[in-house]
């Protein structure tokens, strides 16, 4: 039942899920995002936690609050978000993944090729 990982604060994990929705274009620029209340009820989390997640996206110019209407994806949010997420991946996650690949003596090109053939086999 636990939909959360224990290593990150919940608001960060909710923020990531909203960011994913925007990156996948489930919600496009200028469109409305789910309300704090709806997310809170869907995930059984405190509304203040959801507000905090949205606030961090407002602070980075991805989401805007329209008074009385709710949360909307800002114009130009997707490229901005993509840049932020790439930067975050490269500084926070990639060094660890790279080290792991090295430690296990894996070859990146082999890995990518293997992945493609598997994807091809499924399709």
């Amino acid at each position: 039942m636990n939909q959360w990982n224990e290593t990150q604060p919940i608001f960060i994990q909710i923020r990531q899920r909203i960011a994913q929705m925007i990156l996948r274009q489930d919600v496009k620029e200028g469109e409305a995002l789910p309300s704090v209340r709806q997310i809170s009820a869907d995930l059984s989390v405190n509304p203040l936690t959801v507000t905090k997640a949205y606030q961090s996206l407002v602070d980075t110019g991805i989401v805007e609050t329209r008074r009385g209407l709710g949360m909307f994806v800002q114009e130009g949010a997707r490229p901005r978000l993509l840049a932020q997420e790439r930067e975050k991946f490269l500084t926070e996650e990639w060094p660890r993944i790279k080290a792991q690949i090295k430690a296990l003596e894996l070859n990146i090109e082999d890995l990518l090729r293997q992945d493609d053939t598997q994807a091809g086999a499924k399709a």
């Binding site: 039942m1 209340r37 809170s40 009820a41 995930l43």
Partner: protein
Amino acid sequence: MSNAISPVTTTQTPAVDPIVHARGLRKHFGKNEVLHGLDFDIPPGRIYGLIGHNGAGKTTTLNALLGLTSAEGTIRVLGKDPFAHRAELMQNVAFISDVASLPRFLRVRELFALLTNIHPNFDQAKARSFLEGTDVKMEARIKQLSKGMIAQLHLAVVMAIDAKLLVLDEPTLGLDITYRKRFYRRLLEDYMTEERTLLITTHQVDEIEFMLSDIMFIRDGELVLHMQMETVSGKYAQLIVNPDHAAEARAFGPIYEETRFGQTAMVFENVDRDKLEPLGQLSTPTLSDLFVALMQRTPANAGAAT
């Protein structure tokens, strides 16, 4: 009073009066003191979890703040003494308990008519709309409803009372998982706003862990923990200890240690995470892990901790 309790700091709403204010709250049953002087404030807009073993004093505390029992010390709910102004307060305070019962001989329709007559803040239209989409029919007799349906009816009633404080004492006891989920979803969807406050006691803490904004642990009539959920990770850490580092980890004075299936978990209080990180797998304890850790701790330890 144990100094392990962190004062509540309301960073977002510093000037707002608390919904519940308790100072030196004590209760005796004969010679036996069951509450040993509780001090706490509950600000508006929060979802509070009051957690403790059976007999720790949860229900006595709730009864004191609902005006169902007299107590020593100070207790104010919405600025009023609940024992002296119970009738008045009940316009703004609603309560669901496992033991509180609805009149079984009435039909749902008759219950709503009765409440419309006796309760100034009961909105019958709202109660009816809450029941739409449930299996509870207006013509059904309450005694014929299942336990889950009664819980839904009860929730519809309290949500139709525009209460500023809603107290839930083991609200989902005996309900199956589907009803429990639906119950909490309804609360978050239809009840919670910035002006409203929810106080919940439950044994199924895992289910509401992330709903809560604040927690209070009560043990033997004393508050042993009172803090905002988001500050828990700054104070407490759980370490799945790498066997090679067990002695090293133990040197940091864990407040709790448990070995399960060959794996040792330790809980630390106010120990720098950077120091623990190299010794194993570090995380924030879940509410139930933290509860177990703090309940097993000896009281002398609790006093010496900070």
